[in-house]
């Protein structure tokens, strides 16, 4: 692993980041920490896009644009998710997914 860092190093990092996020998503039962795991997963995808754009297709910028759109959609998703979480906290006094098991109240 002493060679110059290249595409495979970035794929390793992004795969590790993705599965750390998956582990967090499976183990956590608090909605905010699950949201954090989703952010980790989205970041690993962005890193993948940028690495492929730099090392495989340096003559195009499509990976860069995908990353920009993923960041914009992730911001919108986080805002809506937090609005839902705060509303859930108002009605259930908890943001544990085990407690929020009915869809209406």
């Amino acid at each position: 692993m002493t060679s110059e860092p290249g595409l495979y190093h970035f794929l390793f990092i992004s795969a590790a980041l993705f599965f750390i996020g998956v582990f967090g998503f499976f183990t956590r039962r608090n909605l905010i920490t699950m949201l954090m795991s989703i952010e980790l997963i989205l970041n690993s995808v962005n890193l993948n896009f940028i690495a492929f754009n730099k090392y495989v297709w340096p003559g195009k910028m499509d990976g860069l644009f995908f990353t920009l759109f993923v960041i914009a959609i992730a911001a919108a998703e986080a805002a809506v998710a937090i609005a839902i979480i705060i509303n859930l906290y108002r009605s259930h006094r908890s943001i544990d997914v085990e407690i929020a098991e009915e869809l209406k109240f």
Partner: protein, 183 residues
Amino acid sequence: MSASTIIFYLLAAFTLVNAVLAVCTRQIFRAAIFLLFTLIGVAGLYFWMQYEFIAAVQIVVYVGGITVLIIFSIFLTQQAGELLPRPTFTRQLFAGLAAFCGFALTMLQVYQHSFTGDQSKPLDPSVANIGHQMLGVDEGGYALPFEIVSILLLAALIGCIVIAARATPAGKSNLSEMPKKEP
């Protein structure tokens, strides 16, 4: 081993260690701070690849926006100093097993595959080039997705206001039902 390689490994280790701590710590505020460091590490990796614009967007949107939003929602919904419940051992075991097996499978596939692409004439990912292509309407332009994302952001804005500003139903006042904290 050159300085840039050392910086790369330092950034990678920083990112991954903080990511592991973010999903393993039992204090939710610390988890948010570790997530913040992870996002900064990813921005550093973008800087290392010389995609400065993406790194700047990462810092502005993720580090400056989403993390602050998460920290605010932690303050609004958690009792201070309360630890998260420890997940059951079987759940931890199977989640770790699933994550590890998925990681091993992915890396096996990646290392067996050799990526061939177009290595001719690297394009400079400068802000001018990005702007020209993002708002271009000719072949390869991203004007239509740009407009669609702007509509999505507007929808998210209106949706947040509608969800968060909903009137609380009668008998469920916000202040009168605060849970009594045990001394």
